[in-house]
């Protein structure tokens, strides 16, 4: 059961890319099963068949001497069948592969996103020629349904791999290189993705989510993401902002609209609008957030976020502030 973390299976395709591969899988599976049953049946028959006394002669002999010409023909036939099946496999493979690697239809209309892998989170950027229209967020990718999305991938440290199985197969993110992949989500929903190249201690908990929503809703989301964070109205959250800016938070995180501008960790400008924290490891609830701030190392040992000793009052204020970052 997948509750808050999203759909995550190559067998539950929700886009044209994953659907094609799913079709290919069904073909492969059925052909393989047929081949397997045939070969094992032949093996069982050869092993267990009743033998005439002449056939059961224990004197060692070359097999070819005992075998009739029919056996040789059978082997040649089986080999030819193998070659043919492999040939069909190649054709089907190419037929599936070409449209997958080809640029998406409606090329110019595609949404462009840049995703950068970090140990162990994902930086998501919606580029724009106008700096004020750029959107930077983390670990959660919003896309409109029914529109191709081209993702440019790179990494700042080690090799990661971008993989939302319900939408598209994986593509490695290699430092010093740019790779790309495209997908399209047909149905609104939350699709989980996970790093698929071993990248160190928290490879297991380096996940992201793709939230597919109708175009209007997506545009609304984009508009909100472009905004800077509002200065909180209530006093507790205001004090939380002070805590944020006075402690170690500010060393790594950005909250646009405040002096906090470090790019080492995820951008927190609209943290409260996200579904999860800690790269898809925890639901974005107050309790989880508090636990994550105080003791991230017991949730994700080795993560780059240090443990923080914060007075309980300050923590409550900080949580109130972070929850105000809608």
């Amino acid at each position: 059961m997948i509750e808050w973390s999203g759909l995550h299976s190559a067998l539950d395709p929700f886009g044209p890319q994953a659907a094609r591969v799913h079709g290919l899988w069904r073909f492969l599976w059925i052909v393989s099963l047929a081949v397997y049953v045939l070969v094992i049946a032949a093996l069982a028959w050869a092993a267990l068949r009743r033998r005439t006394p002449a056939e059961a002669d224990p004197t060692p002999r070359p097999a070819a001497e005992v075998a009739g010409p029919a056996l040789r023909t059978t082997i040649v036939g089986a080999t030819v069948a193998t070659v043919l099946i492999l040939f069909v496999f190649l054709v089907v493979d190419l037929a599936t592969g070409r449209p997958l690697t080809a640029a998406p239809r409606g090329g110019r209309g595609a949404l462009e996103i840049e995703v950068t892998g970090h140990q162990w989170w994902w930086q998501v950027e919606y580029p724009s020629s106008r700096p004020d229209l750029r959107v930077v967020t983390a670990n959660e990718i919003h896309v409109p349904t029914g529109r191709p999305v081209v993702v440019t991938l790179t990494s700042t440290d080690v090799i990661h791999s971008f993989w939302p199985p319900s939408l598209v197969g994986k593509r490695d993110m290699i430092p010093g290189e740019k790779t790309s992949v495209w997908f399209q989500a047909d149905t609104p929903g939350v699709y989980r993705g996970q790093c698929a190249e071993f990248c160190g201690y928290q490879h297991a908990k380096m996940a992201f989510q793709i939230v597919a929503e109708p175009a209007e809703q997506f545009e609304r989301w984009m508009a909100r993401q472009r905004d800077s964070a509002r200065t909180p109205a209530d006093s507790l959250a205001l004090r939380g902002q002070e805590v944020f800016l006075a402690t170690s938070c500010v060393m790594c995180h950005t909250v646009r609209g405040t002096p906090a501008g470090s790019r080492i960790g995820p951008d927190l400008t609209h943290l409260a609008s996200r579904r999860t924290i800690a790269a898809g490891s925890l639901p974005n609830t107050r309790g989880a957030l508090a636990g994550w701030i105080v003791d991230p190392q017991s949730i994700k040992p080795g993560t780059r976020m240090p443990s923080n000793q914060i007075e309980p009052d300050d923590l409550q204020a900080l949580l109130a502030y972070l929850e105000s970052l809608k």
Binding site: A63, D157, V158, A196, A204, K205
Partner: protein
């Protein structure tokens, strides 16, 4: 000159066998004591040590896996930390590939190739001994590092930049690099041994088309080792240099390239699979022939398939890198090549089924294992064809689907035949029989355990579970199948325990085997069980492809080699016609000392570049003494020993 020198002797010239044996026992014996033990040059001694050591590493690697399976049995389990888990999965993979699979396969070759071709020993016996000690040092290095919490933790594939100096501080990845170096040295030595032995030491009459299939398999494997292992050795040299002396092979900011590592590694890594798998094919052919009482169907086709697999194995490496974004044309080529390698494998399976069909099968434990090979390997082979497809691979690459695939290939395709081979050849190695009833239980448990552990993993992978994760979320829904897999791992462990029990019982009180308990086809069954250090009192002359089955009662034997010292017959490459006599080395301690010096060299290279000159100087001493003839001294010593005994 050659042919005239060989006199097809009359029927009355054979010397008395008892006398010959006594003389050979004296000249081929091993010195006593610990020093004698380390100085052995007998291929069987060395191979037995390889086998036992590799089996110990198999158990250690299995324990690594068991700990991983405990950790993964439940979601969000806290049995292991990610640090420990990463070390364990790295050591598991490195152990199974470098310390178990390759050495155990080549060790079977080292033991049985000389016996099967009717030779007295391998070509370069001291080098052979050196190779074993170097391998042992490499393995001990890895496990010492694990026990002091310094084991490599970047995977057996050790991708940069993660394994580079920037992201793995300390010495963990350096230990990986040097472990690889040690095992590659040993594997390369074994490959040269086997190739030259097969080329130059075959018994007279064993022309190319009479070479047993197992020997063909080992020959192909050795050639693959020769051309594949230098790639990973060089790659690990680059890695060690990047980490120790700040070279930039893998640093993209200075013109290096992380992809260089992947190409170098997989150009070795893919042939590696066939290096493990091809000897297993040879084992199956041996077992099948003996227990069906038929020479394997289609000998030329079988040999060609082995050779074709050897060649094709080098053309597939990129299919491990589809997710990195290889150009479309390249992808299609590698898909086609990967699919093509299914053809020779298929042909061999068909030929075996045909042999079984016309044969008179006896369902001993080795036969059960050989048959299970087809049942299991076929699953791995078919899923292998699936992952050759780029679009499909992009979904399942680096997921548990691939974990399932590779374990079906390596366990089904290599470990099952290997266990069959253990049961089959155990009587030859030890002189005693393993218990059939225990063997059947062991087989059953192993078969069930492997399927229970690895079959569910196909499903897990398709449902998105990536490899190399130390845990997974409760929400993922992967918990139940993981628990099942852990139960399977327990079953495998029980089976391996049963095997150890069987071996211990057989060694203590197993029934004596005699020379030829199974009615075997090939020459090893002509020798005693266990064979004497010189293998055969008189080297046999081969009269047909099934060396023993075609042997006539009046088959000629080779005489005229000296018995007062070690001398072996060298034959021609193609026709195995007697060509010259070679003075065979005596036991020597220097290979052991040289291995220690090699150990100092490479282990100190983990810490300082000065390890190279210092280690090289250290190594020079035993190497010079090794090159210096010591036969006369040995002769003197032997005489003294004999005098003190009498």
């Amino acid at each position: 000159m050659t042919t005239q020198a060989v006199r097809p002797g009359s029927t009355a010239t054979a010397p008395d066998e008892a006398e010959v044996r006594a003389a050979l026992d004296a000249s081929w014996g091993r010195p006593v004591g610990l020093l004698g033990w380390i100085s052995t040059v007998d291929h069987k001694d060395v191979a037995r040590r390889y086998l036992v050591t590799a089996f110990v590493f198999f158990i250690l690697g299995g324990l690594d896996a068991a700990l991983m399976r405990i950790q993964l049995a439940r979601p969000e389990n806290r049995f292991l930390t990610p640090d420990q888990y990463n070390q364990l999965f790295t050591v598991h993979g490195t152990t199974m590939m470098f310390l178990f699979a390759v050495p155990v396969m080549t060790a079977m070759g080292l033991y049985f190739v000389p016996l099967m071709i009717g030779a007295r020993n391998v070509s370069f016996p001291r080098l052979n001994n050196y190779g074993y000690w170097v391998y042992l040092i490499g393995g001990v290095l890895l496990y010492v590092s694990l026990f002091v919490n310094s084991a490599p933790d970047t995977g057996w594939f050790s991708y940069v930049p993660l394994a580079g100096p920037g992201y793995t501080p300390g010495k963990r990845a350096d230990i990986y690099a040097q472990t690889v170096t040690f095992t590659e040295i040993s594997a390369l030595i074994t490959a040269v041994e086997i190739i030259v032995t097969v080329f130059k030491h075959r018994a007279p009459g064993m022309t190319l088309n009479r070479i047993p299939l197992f020997v063909w398999a080992m020959l192909v494997t050795s050639f693959m080792i020769l051309f594949a292992m230098p790639w990973v050795a060089t790659a690990s040299l680059f890695l060690a240099a990047d980490r120790l002396i700040a070279t930039h092979f893998f640093n993209p900011a200075e013109g290096g390239d992380p992809m260089l590592w992947q190409h170098l590694f997989w150009f070795f890594g893919h042939p590696e699979v066939y290096i493990i798998f091809i000897p297993a094919l040879g084992m199956i052919s041996s077992i099948l022939a003996t227990f069906t009482r038929r020479e394997v169907f289609g000998y030329p086709v079988m040999v060609l398939s082995l050779v074709a697999t050897g060649f094709l194995g080098f053309g597939l490496w990129v299919h491990h890198m589809f997710a990195t974004g290889i150009p479309q044309l390249g992808q299609s080529y590698f898909t086609a090549a990967s699919a093509m390698i299914a053809i020779p494998s298929g042909v061999q399976i068909f030929c075996w089924i045909a042999t079984l069909w016309v044969g008179r099968p006896r369902w001993t434990v080795p036969m059960l294992y050989a048959t299970a090979f087809v049942v299991l390997f076929l699953i791995g082979g078919l899923s292998g064809v699936m992952v050759a497809s780029v679009p499909f691979d992009l979904q399942v690459h680096d997921t548990y689907f691939v974990v399932a695939h590779l374990h079906y290939v390596l366990l089904g395709g290599a470990v099952f035949p290997l266990f069959g081979a253990f049961y089959y050849w155990f009587p030859k190695i030890t002189g005693r029989m393993l218990d059939e009833r225990l063997g059947r239980w062991q087989f059953g448990l192993f078969f069930a355990g492997v399927n229970l552990t690895f079959f569910p993993m196909h499903y897990l992978g398709l449902h998105g579970m990536p490899r190399r994760v130390y845990t997974y979320l409760l929400e993922s829904g992967w918990g139940d199948l993981n628990l099942l897999a852990t139960a399977g791992a327990v079953t495998i462990a029980a089976s391996v325990l049963l095997f150890i029990l069987n071996v211990v019982r057989a060694l203590r009180a197993g029934p004596l085997a005699g020379n030829d308990p199974w009615g075997g086809e090939t020459l090893e069954w002509l020798a005693e069980s266990p064979p004497r250090p010189y293998n055969f009192a008189f080297q046999p002359v081969v009269q047909g492809r099934a060396a023993l089955w075609s042997r006539t009662p009046d088959a000629p034997v080779v005489v005229g080699l000296r018995t007062d010292m070690r001398e072996v017959l060298v034959t021609t490459v193609m026709d195995a016609a007697p060509d010259n006599r070679h003075r065979h080395p005596d036991p020597d301690r220097m290979p052991f000392v040289a291995a220690l010096a090699t150990g100092v060299l490479f282990i100190s290279l983990v810490f300082t570049p000065w390890g190279l000159p210092v280690g090289a100087l250290l190594l020079a001493v035993p190497m010079i003494l090794w090159g210096w003839p010591n036969e006369e001294d040995n002769e003197k010593q032997r005489r003294q020993e004999r005098e003190t005994v009498t």
